[in-house]
Structure formats: structure tokens, C-alpha cells
């Protein structure tokens, strides 16, 4: 076992599992994370990657997009909590709407609004241009806007 792999993974695992959960739901998040990390380690030490965290973020998104093509949208929606009263309903509606976004748009929203990355850093993490990243955010916000205003 390569200790540096374990160290790097342990450092980022909480961020990675949260990211995977947002993209694919809690039921599959562990599997997505494990699949991505193991696949990477089959070929490469995490320590050999220039930016292991960003690499794994990209790989998780890639994995999620791959899976999304093989399942219905409904599968990916979060499960309604047993007692919805405990949650502010508008927030839950927004959460549902977020989960209904295509993975790349949702990833962009997550990185900017949750991870507080700059547009440039979020674009770099997703391996895209800042223009495309802005487009993802623009489209996502547009889709969410009605819900938020009605909330």
C-alpha cells in the first residue's frame, strides 16, 4: 500500500463524498467514489497527479455522467424525507431542482456555491473553459430562478 495514496485520499475524502452525494445521491455516492479512486490507483499513484483533488473531482463527474446515461432521472432524485415538516419546503424544492440538473451544471453550481471556488478555479476543476462554466451556471440559475422566486 502506498502511504501517500492513503494520505492524499484521506485528506480529500470528505470533500469527495459530499460532491459525489450531491451529484448522484447518497445511495450511490460511496460506490462512485470507490470506483473512481480504485480505477485511478490501478494505473497511477495519487501522488503522481499534479492536482489529485481536482483530478478526482473530474473523474467523479465523469463517472456520474456515465451512470446517468443508464438510469432514469427519477432514480437520481433525492428521497423525500419521512417527515417533510422538519425541512423548509422551498429549500427542499430547490434541492430537488438542483438534483434534476444535468451533472455538469450541478457540478458547476456545487463548486461555486458550496466549495466557494472562483469561476476560473471551478472551470479548471471541471476541465472546461470559464465561458462554458459561466454558461452552466447561467443555465442552472435560470432553471432554478422560478422555484426560488416562488419559494
Amino acid at each position: 500500500m502506498d502511504l501517500s495514496d492513503e494520505t492524499i485520499y484521506t485528506k480529500h475524502k470528505d470533500d469527495l463524498i459530499r460532491y459525489a452525494t450531491v451529484l448522484v445521491g447518497s445511495a450511490d455516492a460511496e460506490d462512485v467514489l470507490s470506483t473512481v479512486v480504485l480505477r485511478t490507483l490501478e494505473r497511477r499513484s495519487l501522488g503522481e497527479l499534479d492536482e489529485a483533488r481536482a483530478y478526482l473531482f473530474r473523474a467523479i463527474l465523469n463517472e456520474v455522467r456515465d451512470r446517468a446515461r443508464h438510469q432514469s432521472t427519477a432514480d437520481a432524485l433525492p428521497v423525500m424525507p419521512a417527515d417533510p415538516v422538519v425541512l423548509p419546503e422551498p429549500d427542499y424544492e430547490v434541492a430537488l431542482a438542483l438534483r434534476s440538473l444535468p451533472p455538469r451544471q450541478l457540478a458547476a453550481v456545487y463548486l461555486v456555491y458550496w466549495e466557494d471556488l472562483t469561476i476560473r478555479d471551478a472551470a479548471k476543476t471541471l476541465g472546461t473553459s470559464t465561458g462554458t462554466l459561466k454558461r452552466y451556471l447561467h443555465i442552472a440559475r435560470k432553471k432554478l430562478k422560478g422555484l426560488i422566486e416562488n419559494g
Partner: protein, 364 residues
């Protein structure tokens, strides 16, 4: 509604999703938490490597790029991005058959502006599968994006209706042989122009600029020659393929009778698919020699192929590609299998012979 309110609402929505997160498995437990075989998820890089000269697709972790011609559409494109893991059987030929040349070469003919990025996506709907893409122009500080779509599903009226629903329609603006509908889509000075010309739908978007600048940029869009297009490309896009291929083949042992010249023909592309196509040709040739040699009992030739592919771990181009996509990993996987028992161990067991063409994009 204030942007801050929107942002807070989004963060609260994200918080609900995040709070469902399970504990991340410990490093030692990774193998036991993975319940899905790797094989079904592993990269299938033929979408990169299997490109013909005409089908210019770049796939990488996190996105897909199509370079050379341009095209694009907004929401649908983002909804169904051309997947990095598209199957080898469909992606290259599908893209190649979608008449990429139907899109004209469009540049933003203004001082300091160049083509910074081209992002291709595949749109599927009841009418079929279409390729669209976004061209991002940049002057180093600002960016503007042009989406073109010539698919049969183009419905400019619907697109305009969608954009105008919550936006302010401004004065139309003439462009080429058409009239563009210009809208202010709100937020921090976001403008969109939509028009149709010669059965191609165009949507031009710029964010964070004033209307005067937007209109000026819109009027600077011109349909141009391939030469002008090439001169507008960023440095990430290869225009001298011979020079690029030569660089990619540094320290790469070539199979006997390898036709380098065949790699030097083709349109301008982002460097990644050019590199992937180059390495694909080399790797596929070595594997085919290895298979033939095994069949004929030529142990010397078998070893030559094994030794050549073993050096792939030191090919500089694969290290460069690793930062962008997963193709390098697949090459190494096959190199290792050749020096071992010929078994590919990523998930369900297969063999080099049974899987190399699809995995590496051979024969495309």
C-alpha cells in the same frame, strides 16, 4: 429578486443534498465498498482515439471538445453532453456522419479576440441525434460564446420564446442575411442574440458586459475562410499536425512500416485528440503485431512488441495527456497486460485480443 437571495437559496438547497452524504470509506475499505465492477465504468477512449480526420472530437475527463468546425445550442446541449465514455461503436462514426462541415467558419473579427475553446455536445431527441457545439471567443479578459445548431430539431421560435419569457427583448439587430432577436437575460448584464441563417440556428451569448459592447461584438461575427478560422485559434489547437505528431512520437518506438504521414493529414484540432489518435495508431499496430506473432509462434516478435509497449510508461505525451483525460491509463493497462498473461483486469475479465480495438479505438 436580489442575486444574494438566489445564492442563499441555492446554498440551502445544496445543504440539503450535502447533509445526506454518508461517511467516506476509509482507504483500506475502498475495495469492499465498491459494489459495481470497474469494467462498466472504465474509460472507453475511442471517442478520442478513433477519430477520422474529419470527425474532430476531443473527449476528456469532465467534458468533450469538438474542434475544427463550430456549432452549438444552449440547454439541450448542456443536458446531454457528448460523453467522454461514449462507446467505441458509435461515437466516431456518428459524429463523422453529422456533416460538421454544415457549420460555417465563424470568427469574432475584433482586435484581440480569438477562438479559445470549442465544446461539442450531442443532443438526442425524438428526431434523432445531433451534434452541436459552443465556440468560446476570448480576448484574455472577456468571453463571448456562439452556439450553432443545424439539426432538424432547430426551433428558433421556441428558443426565442424560452429566452424572452423572463428577459427583456431589446431592439433587433441585423446580422449577415438575417435579423437577430436581442434580449437582456438579466443578472449582471447578460445579453443573448438569436437568429437563423441558411438553416443554421445561432445563439450568441456574452455575460458581464454592457449592451453597446455586446452589439459591437455581435456585429463583429463574420463567416470566414478556413484559413482565417485557423489563424483565430488558440495555441491549444494544433494547426501544424506534422510538427505536432512528430513531438507526440518523441521516445515512442514505432512498429515496422508505420505510416507517420497518414497522421499528418487532417483539420485543425485541439491537441488532445491529435495526440490520442497518434498514440492509438502506434499502440494498435504493436498489439496487432503481438497478436499475429503469438498466433504464428514468433516469440521474438512477441517480445519486441511487449518491450515496445512496456516503454509506454515513459512516453512523454502520455504524461501530458494524463492531465486532461484517461486515455494514457488505458494504454498502460494494455501494455501491462501484454507483458503479463494478456488479461485485462479492470473489472470483468477480458483479454487484450477481445477488447483492444474498442478500448483503444483501433481501426477507426
Amino acid at each position: 429578486m436580489a442575486d444574494n437571495h438566489d445564492n442563499e437559496a441555492i446554498r440551502r438547497g445544496l445543504a440539503l443534498l450535502v447533509e445526506d452524504a454518508p461517511l467516506a470509506p476509509d482507504f483500506d475499505d475502498l475495495t469492499t465498498t465498491r459494489v459495481r465492477p470497474i469494467e462498466t465504468n472504465r474509460p472507453k477512449p475511442l471517442a478520442v482515439a478513433g477519430l477520422s480526420a474529419a470527425a474532430v472530437v476531443l473527449t476528456f475527463v469532465g467534458g468533450a471538445i469538438w474542434v475544427g468546425q463550430s456549432g452549438g445550442q444552449a440547454d439541450q446541449a448542456a443536458d446531454t453532453p457528448l460523453a467522454p465514455n461514449e462507446t467505441a461503436a458509435t461515437t466516431p462514426s456518428t459524429v463523422a456522419n453529422l456533416e460538421p462541415g454544415a457549420f460555417p467558419h465563424v470568427v469574432l473579427d475584433a482586435s484581440g479576440w480569438s477562438v479559445a475553446f470549442v465544446d461539442q455536445t450531442k443532443v438526442s431527441n425524438a428526431d434523432g441525434v445531433f451534434v452541436v457545439s459552443d465556440v468560446v471567443f476570448s480576448n484574455g479578459e472577456e468571453e463571448a460564446e456562439l452556439r450553432m445548431d443545424s439539426g432538424a430539431h432547430v426551433d428558433l421560435d421556441a428558443l426565442i420564446a424560452d429566452r424572452v419569457t423572463d428577459a427583456s427583448r431589446l431592439a433587433d439587430q441585423a446580422i449577415w442575411d438575417a435579423t437577430a432577436v436581442v434580449v437582456d437575460t438579466g443578472g449582471a448584464a447578460n445579453f443573448t442574440a438569436m437568429w437563423e441563417s441558411n438553416a443554421v440556428e445561432y445563439e450568441f451569448v456574452a455575460l458581464d458586459i454592457d449592451q453597446e459592447t455586446f452589439r459591437s461584438l455581435l456585429s463583429s461575427l463574420i463567416q470566414t475562410s478556413e484559413e482565417h478560422w485557423n489563424s483565430s485559434l488558440s495555441e491549444d489547437i494544433v494547426t501544424d499536425r506534422a510538427q505536432a505528431v512528430s513531438a507526440y512520437l518523441e521516445d515512442v518506438p514505432l512498429p515496422p512500416n508505420f505510416d507517420v504521414l497518414a497522421l499528418e493529414e487532417g483539420p485543425s484540432e485541439h491537441w488532445y485528440p491529435v495526440a490520442a489518435e497518434t498514440i492509438s495508431r502506434v499502440t494498435c499496430s504493436w498489439i496487432e503485431l503481438w497478436i499475429d506473432a503469438k498466433a504464428t509462434g514468433d516469440t521474438e516478435a512477441v517480445q519486441r512488441a511487449v518491450d515496445a509497449m512496456a516503454t509506454s510508461h515513459d512516453w512523454p505525451v502520455l504524461d501530458d495527456m494524463l492531465a486532461v483525460g484517461d486515455y494514457s491509463q488505458v494504454v498502460w493497462e494494455y501494455a501491462d497486460a501484454m507483458s503479463g498473461d494478456g488479461t485485462i483486469v479492470a473489472g470483468s475479465v477480458t483479454t487484450v485480443e477481445a477488447s483492444y480495438q474498442q478500448a483503444l479505438g483501433c481501426g477507426s
